[in-house]
Symmetry: C2
Subunit: 158 residues, 2 copies
DNA sequence: CTCCTTGCAAAGGATTTGCACTAAC
DNA sequence: GTTAGTGCAAATCCTTTGCAAGGAG
């Protein structure tokens, strides 16, 4: 796939250096739909025996967000990161904190809503809240920041 | 107004005690559209010479959210609180972090979107992002957590 | 070679918690 | 009187930052 090339190109243009850590972190995110936290990425890399520091994971993730290669999601627990940057929506489980993609078509017209005089809209987000399949199945409490893989419960990206 | 009575009723039902601090905090929020943070509430009360601790402000706000008397908003900086609990949407300024109400009608049909098998939707939120009037006017950087009153820039609740 | 990145540890902001005391009910 | 709420300080969680050493271009 030439996605790596495209990414590298973007990094060059943005004068971010293509370091081993950045490669690792971006690879760890690539193609995932479970919106991991910085900690999750960090632990997964460490478990694979890679050497990265949590600080670097944070710095890299934020940098990639600034470059437009990732999207940052705010919610109840720690921030989560989404490698799929095309406009789309999310579902957040109020029980476990997991975030899922929602396949519903993007409503471009919402970017042209009248907020009020002097307001400039750059984007909009829709977030559904409720209980995810994992949690309704188990019916028991969990920690706020996801544990392990979240699967996608049947949603996903078109 | 009999809203106080209603609230008191809810507090009784929920066996929350109607203490001086809770009254103060709820009063400080009531009718506001600027979605203050816990710190803001705390400082405003202290400036008025009231005695409250920041811990109590946090505890109270979270409790009132649990009771459904407030809504909690997650964003870039610290959490913000909204006394207007009827379904409505928000605009968040990516420069200063201020949050405004958006008058656009609530889209109930979005609560019936197909997320996927096993997903139960309890609510949805739409958040617009962009630059608020205050910031486009000033054109300069600011701290993430709002400073002082944010006005409402022409939006507001119907 | 130069400047960006990293790792580590320390600092920082936001929020919660333990505990003895106080105040609602 | 009971039991829940409060203030204070300490603790915790999440994230950023300073600095010296390392690595990419």
């Amino acid at each position: 796939m030439e996605r790596a090339r495209v990414i590298m190109q973007m990094l060059i243009m943005s004068r971010l250096r293509w370091t081993r850590q950045r490669k690792l972190i971006l690879d760890a995110l690539k193609g995932r739909t479970d919106h991991p936290t910085a900690e999750q990425i960090y632990h997964e890399l460490r478990e694979r025996g890679e050497t990265v520091s949590l600080a670097t994971v944070y710095r890299t993730l934020r940098a990639l967000v600034r470059e437009g290669l990732l999207r940052e999601l705010h919610g109840d627990g720690p921030d989560r990161f989404d490698p799929f940057v095309e406009p789309h929506y999310h579902f957040r489980c109020i029980r476990c904190g997991r975030v899922y993609d929602v396949a519903t078509p993007y409503r471009g017209e919402l970017d042209r809503v009248e907020v009020g005089p002097g307001f400039v809209i750059t984007s909009h987000q829709i977030t559904w809240e409720g209980i995810c399949p994992e949690c309704s199945r188990e019916g028991k409490e969990r920690r706020k920041h996801g544990e392990g893989s979240a699967g996608d419960g049947g949603t996903g990206r078109g």
